[in-house]
């Protein structure tokens, strides 16, 4: 067996096809302002932002074992930083978004050192406490409207682009860019040395630790990177909404519950899962949203059933069935067919 000609590679036919198709889809999406209507662009922009949020949450929960129910802390923080940096700092919104990301990562450092003391499920609730502390603190800031919130001044909105369609195209492209960036960061991170460590931790934390992986440090880096990027997304989200209030900015339903559903239904611990999950989530929302509370109950039931019956989600099911990876992370051995004979 051992002298059979074989090759070891990450890539596969499916992955190469997916790469070409992905590039084509991105080109078509970039051109959306020339072929899509205003409402469709808004919807797609929102979809991209959820895709980015879901990819980052999946990196934390699916790979680093950091199940957070408090990422709304960074969405809200980023949103508020956009308002603070543009209104008081006089920054251009695009720079303010980058600044929100940096500040989000910086504040994630002390937060991580504190809540990493909590294990497993308690960590999850600890993140929620942090989000509450952020919400209550921003509600105290009267300069940003206190509990009732504030709106982005017209001048700042205009500085983005002078025409309305220009602004809409720009925020659409930024949302698309955010989704592509988030997936790329996750993909590259997982293919790096650190990604190998992460996968090892996911599979067996004890074994990973005994092989010399610094578990705390690895998780810490993931948490800070994911939180910084989530803060950038928050800034983008509230640049589209133009209005911020503590309850909207730190909503556990909007920024965490939906994101968790997306990842669980699509397939946790896979890069492709959040993409599928986002598409399913938006398809459900566009068809069932009129049902109001019933829609959310259905969503909850679907998530529970998926978790119990198919814990790897839709994508996990597909992988098990057809053994394909579109964004390859694993190496595989391909034995050359002709040598077998």
């Amino acid at each position: 067996m051992s002298d059979q000609p074989h090759e070891i590679s990450r890539s596969s036919q499916a992955a190469r096809v997916a790469a070409v198709l992905g590039a084509l889809i991105i080109i078509i999406l970039v051109a959306a302002p020339w072929w899509a209507g205003r409402a469709d662009m808004r919807l797609m922009g929102e979809l991209f932002l959820y895709l980015a949020l879901a990819s980052l949450w999946n990196l934390m929960a699916g790979y680093a074992g950091l199940v957070s129910v408090g990422q709304q802390a960074y969405v809200g923080f980023g949103g508020y930083m956009l308002f603070a940096l543009t209104i008081f700092g006089g920054l251009h919104p695009v720079f303010a978004i980058a600044g929100a990301g940096v500040l989000g990562a910086l504040i994630a450092i002390p937060v991580a050192t504190l809540i990493f003391r909590l294990r497993g499920a308690y960590f999850a609730i600890g993140t929620w406490v942090i989000a509450e502390v952020f919400r209550l603190s921003f509600a105290q800031l009267s300069a940003l409207g206190g509990g009732s919130g504030s709106s982005l001044p017209v001048g700042i909105v205009r500085s983005l682009a002078s025409s309305r369609s220009g602004r809409e195209s720009l925020s659409y492209w930024m949302a698309l860019g955010a989704a592509v960036t988030a997936i790329t960061v996750v993909y590259l991170m997982l293919r790096s040395r650190r990604g190998l460590a992460l996968t090892a931790i996911r599979d067996n934390e004890l074994a990973a630790g005994s092989l010399g992986i610094d578990i705390w440090r690895t998780k810490f880096v993931v948490y800070v990177v994911a939180s910084g990027l989530t803060a950038m997304l928050g800034a983008l989200i509230f640049l589209q909404k133009l209005r911020i209030s503590p309850d909207a900015a730190f909503s556990v339903n909007d920024w965490t519950a939906f994101v968790i559903f997306i990842v669980v239904i699509g397939g946790i611990g896979t890069i492709e899962g959040p993409i599928i999950g986002t598409l399913i989530f938006f398809a459900l929302r566009e068809t069932l949203a009129d049902l109001g509370t019933t829609y959310l109950i259905v969503l909850g039931v679907v998530a529970i059933v998926v978790m119990l019956k198919a814990p790897k989600g839709v994508w996990g099911f597909i992988v098990e069935r057809y053994d394909i990876q579109l964004l390859p992370l694993r190496y595989r051995v391909n034995v050359k067919e002709h040598a077998k004979r």
């Binding site: 199940v67 504190l114 003391r117 497993g120 509450e132 509370t293 019933t294």
Partner: protein, 287 residues
């Protein structure tokens, strides 16, 4: 005197928080399950109480006679029907399933009871007070605190003095060996959840008499209960009472400084304890 008053009122409030926490602490102790829907189950207790009061005209405290067994039954069925399937080495399934449960419960409340805040009317009990050494203490907060002590003492007794408690401790220590000794862990877990939700029912009714509640009130209650558990130390029931009191006092003293600081002060007290003593003040088991 105002400050003494704030501390005393906060202590009594802590009794309610300890009741929020006791069920959480119990199920964590027995099966290492952290129930994200715990707060919503507290609110479920309050809504069930409201329904009984409206249907029968009973006093809310008497409604406990119906609500406690109902909640216990719900707990047993929930555990055996759904939650037992999630238990294992992986923490994700229980966390995400109870999270889904939380969303379902909140929306069922919305469907059944609308988004309007509701409150149970306990008549004269709500405003009655006794005067102790210049302080005016509400009878309801005193009663709540007394019930909290009684509930925690009972749980302590069940845990360490009864055959049921012995099986709780056995499955908690080692599930496989407990099974070999003839215990059915699925049944034991069901009983633990039933007991936890019985306590939750009491907490829910007292919550519903003390303040108004709405479908989304659960999240904050989960967080208070969780903070009380962590401050007191995992697995220590009396510690949980102390944790609840610390949280309550932090909130009332915070509110005294500035009304906007009430909730924030409680969370900050929790974070300070976490920074100084990560295992809580009186830890008994390691997380």
């Amino acid at each position: 005197m105002d400050w003494v008053n704030a501390v005393v009122q906060g202590t009594l409030l802590g009794g309610l928080y300890a009741l929020f926490a006791a069920g959480l602490s119990l199920i964590f102790g027995v099966m290492r399950l952290v129930n994200i829907a715990h707060g919503d189950l507290i609110v479920l207790g309050a809504y069930l109480g409201l329904t009984v009061v409206m249907a029968t005209g009973l006093h809310p405290l008497l409604a406990l006679v119906f609500v406690v067994p109902t909640m216990a039954a719900i707990g047993y069925v929930l555990q055996r029907g759904i939650l037992n399937k999630t238990l294992g080495d992986d923490i994700l399934p229980p966390l995400l399933v109870t999270f889904g449960l939380s969303v379902i419960l909140q929306n069922l409340f919305l469907e059944g009871y609308t988004a309007d805040p509701q409150k149970m009317n306990a008549g004269a009990l709500e405003t009655a007070s006794v005067s102790v050494g210049g302080l005016s203490l509400g009878v309801l907060p005193l009663l709540t605190f007394g019930i909290a002590i009684f509930v925690i003492a009972s749980l302590q007794f069940i845990f360490y003095r009864t055959p049921l408690g012995r099986s709780f401790r056995a499955v908690s220590d080692n599930q496989e060996i407990a099974q070999l000794m003839g215990l059915n862990k699925r049944h034991i877990f069901g009983l633990a959840m039933a007991l936890a939700l019985a306590v939750t029912a009491i907490a829910g009714i007292l919550l519903g008499i003390r303040t108004s509640f709405d479908p989304t009130a659960g999240g904050a209650r989960l967080i208070y209960g969780f903070e009380a558990v962590i401050i007191g130390g995992l697995g220590n029931l009396w510690g949980t009472l102390v944790g609840g009191v610390i949280l309550g006092v932090a909130q009332t003293v915070g509110a005294k400084i500035d009304p906007g600081w009430q909730l924030l002060a409680g969370h900050i007290a929790f974070l300070v304890v976490l920074a100084i003593r990560p295992n809580g003040l009186f830890p008994r088991v390691s997380g």
